[in-house]
């Protein structure tokens, strides 16, 4: 508890103080996006710690956003309630997707999440009467506490980061107890885990549902923050984006999620500003080239994330160290 608790407290203080140092509206928006991305990424990392990867995370993000936006806008329910309902409903959808696919080998599951993501995105565009089609939904109510609006960037900042830290704490707890050990065992070997009584399919399902709930929660917050949603931020490209955040931080490393979300969001801002100067003709998703290459490089050179990779590298470079005894069965 102690070291982890201290780390978390320090992080909370840093996050609480940040808006006083960097208070421009632009920076606050960036921080808020980082906060939302952190929540989604944490879900992916939970999933990753069981050896699973989802290419449909943006769809769950989108289901949370559209679900909450529609319920609050058209039925007039409180956004707080609708975020909770949309999150729970999305978790239910994930369960339905998981039933047929989680028992299959890794690549079938990945494929299914990819297909699911595309179906959801197609529906967002096609169900014009419900979703507003490609032009999206406007006039989504903002969040309020006791009559006070949280629409302002700074107020929302504290909300999203409070929730992101809570999400981090929960994920940290899950991975550091019996459940987390079972997940890591599944990652190591499903056969080995099953031989010790770990109900492999049940754990995979739980963590998949949790990851969808994380994404949906962030999506709901997003909808009531930006107050306008359209299908494009929930496409396959967004799923790639979340995946690379998780991979940069280390697909099984909870704290890496925060790092990955921050690094990639900032990198994205830089790329968006700089690349058009070099390649004036491009529009759309040219960044995917950079992210794709980054993804490949990280998986080859730092499969456990940049942070841990750098640490390992440091350990290798350190001149003299306690050599771990290898070989020779004492």
């Amino acid at each position: 508890m102690t070291r982890r608790g201290a780390g978390l407290a320090l992080l909370a203080c840093g996050i609480a103080g940040l808006p006083f140092l960097a208070s421009s509206a632009y920076l606050l928006t960036v921080f808020n996006i980082i906060g939302l991305s952190t929540i989604v990424t944490l879900g992916l990392i939970l999933l990753g710690s069981s050896g699973q990867v989802s290419l449909g995370q943006a769809a769950f993000y989108g289901l949370g956003a559209y679900g909450s936006a529609l319920l609050s806008r058209d039925l007039g329910w409180s956004p707080w309630a609708t975020i909770a309902i949309a999150t729970a409903a999305t978790a239910g959808v994930a369960y339905l997707v998981g039933v047929p696919t989680l028992r299959l080998a890794e690549h079938f599951f990945v494929l299914a999440t990819l297909g699911f993501g595309i179906i959801v995105n197609v529906l967002m565009v096609q169900l014009v009467d419900v979703t507003g089609g490609a032009s999206g939904l406007r006039d989504i109510p903002g969040l309020r506490i006791a009559g006070v609006s949280l629409a302002a960037d700074r107020a929302f900042y504290y909300l999203v980061w409070g929730l992101a830290l809570a999400a981090l704490l929960l994920a940290q707890n899950i991975t550091s107890h019996r459940t987390g050990r079972a997940l890591r065992a599944i990652l190591g070997s499903e056969v080995g885990a099953a031989a010790l009584g770990v109900e492999v399919s049940r754990y995979k399902m739980q963590v998949f549902v949790a990851s969808a709930a994380y994404a949906a929660l962030a999506g709901g917050l997003y909808a009531h923050y930006i107050r306008f949603i359209s299908p494009s931020p929930f496409s396959l490209y967004a799923s790639l984006f979340f995946l690379i955040m998780a991979v940069v931080g280390g697909l099984t490393n909870i704290w890496g999620g925060l790092f990955g979300a921050a690094l990639i969001t900032i990198l994205d801002q830089v790329i968006r500003a700089q690349v058009p100067r070099v390649f004036p003709r491009v529009g759309g998703e040219y960044q995917t080239a950079i992210y794709g290459i980054l993804l490949v490089l990280i998986m080859i050179f730092f499969p456990s994330g940049i942070v841990r990779g750098a640490l390992d590298l440091g350990r290798l470079l350190r001149p003299v160290g306690p050599e771990p005894a290898k070989g020779g069965s004492a």
């Binding site: 299959l104 179906i119 565009v125 998986m299």
Partner: protein
């Protein structure tokens, strides 16, 4: 309603022959290396766009097509050497993410090089469309179906009738035995990626006169090919080819009888259904691999 059916079937078979080629590319790589290559569709995109560019440089169509297939082969080989081979033996998850990264990278690079506008290729043999069984078939569709059948036939002859083909099949069955008789699995993996790239490029070039080519065509083609391969069980080449035609026909019928925009979603509903029907669970599969 029914009057539309022959036309829809013809369209389905045309596009299905393309999916069959791509599915075959998947099966080839999966069979030999156990890797699901998410970048398979991008090979089609590259073949088509390179060919369109060469044509714009006033090369004859046949020359342009051959060069672009060759160029895509090189790219397939590079993909294997630079991205896949360094991670050989890693967790399957790692390899899945890598090929997904490659596909995203290729698509993004294509966008930078070619922009977002569609490119066209002329029909191989221009002329009025043929009328067949109450539907019309553009001449290029005959090319697509014919070439696909020819390529599939040639591949089967190679794998069933020739010694190197048999060697590759043996490797797919048992990598260890393969090393024993002096065939390097790494070389076979390189060959599989190269050949799959060629299959993808051919598919992309043949279909472009009908559909046009854009930087993002690879995603759709690749995923449909995927679904076809999965319908066929992923390890079974003839079944993957049948799966390709099936996906093409389903998609065509869905486009004809439902709102066109939903056609893409239908294919994936089919995929989810197929996955649902998969019998073999992970554990049993893993155990069998171990045994």
């Amino acid at each position: 309603m029914l009057a539309l059916l022959p036309q829809l079937l013809l369209t389905g078979i045309t596009i299905g022959s393309i999916y069959a080629l791509i599915a075959l590319g998947f099966v080839l790589i999966y069979g030999v290396t156990g890797i699901l290559n998410f970048a398979q569709g991008e090979f089609s995109m590259l073949g088509a766009l390179v060919c369109a560019t060469l044509l714009a440089w006033h090369l004859p169509l046949a020359t342009a097509a051959l060069i672009s297939v060759a160029a895509t082969c090189v790219l397939g080989a590079l993909t294997e050497r630079l991205a896949v081979e360094p991670a050989f033996g890693a967790h399957p998850l790692t390899l899945i993410i890598i090929t997904f990264g490659v596909s995203m990278a290729l698509r993004g690079l294509a966008l930078m090089l070619w922009g977002a506008d569609p490119y066209a290729l002329p029909e191989f043999t221009p002329g009025p469309p043929l009328v067949l069984l109450g539907g019309v078939l553009v001449r290029q569709a005959v090319w697509a179906i014919g070439l696909s059948v020819a390529v599939v036939g040639a591949l089967f002859t190679f794998f069933v009738r020739t010694v190197p083909g048999a060697a590759v099949r043996a490797c797919a069955d048992n990598a260890f035995a393969c090393r024993l008789v002096g065939i390097s699995p790494r070389r076979v993996s390189l060959a599989a990626f190269t050949l799959s790239a060629a299959l993808g490029a051919v598919a992309g070039i043949v279909i472009t006169p009908i559909t046009g080519a854009t930087y993002d065509m690879g995603l759709g083609l690749g995923l449909k090919g995927f679904v076809a391969a999965v319908i066929g069980g992923l390890g079974n080449a003839p079944a993957a080819v049948v799966g390709g035609y099936l996906v093409g026909i389903i998609e065509s019928l869905a486009t004809g009888y439902l709102v066109p925009g939903y056609a893409g979603a239908i294919t994936f509903l089919v995929l989810l259904a197929v996955l649902f029907l998969q019998r073999e669970g992970v554990l049993h599969g893993a155990q069998r691999r171990q045994a």
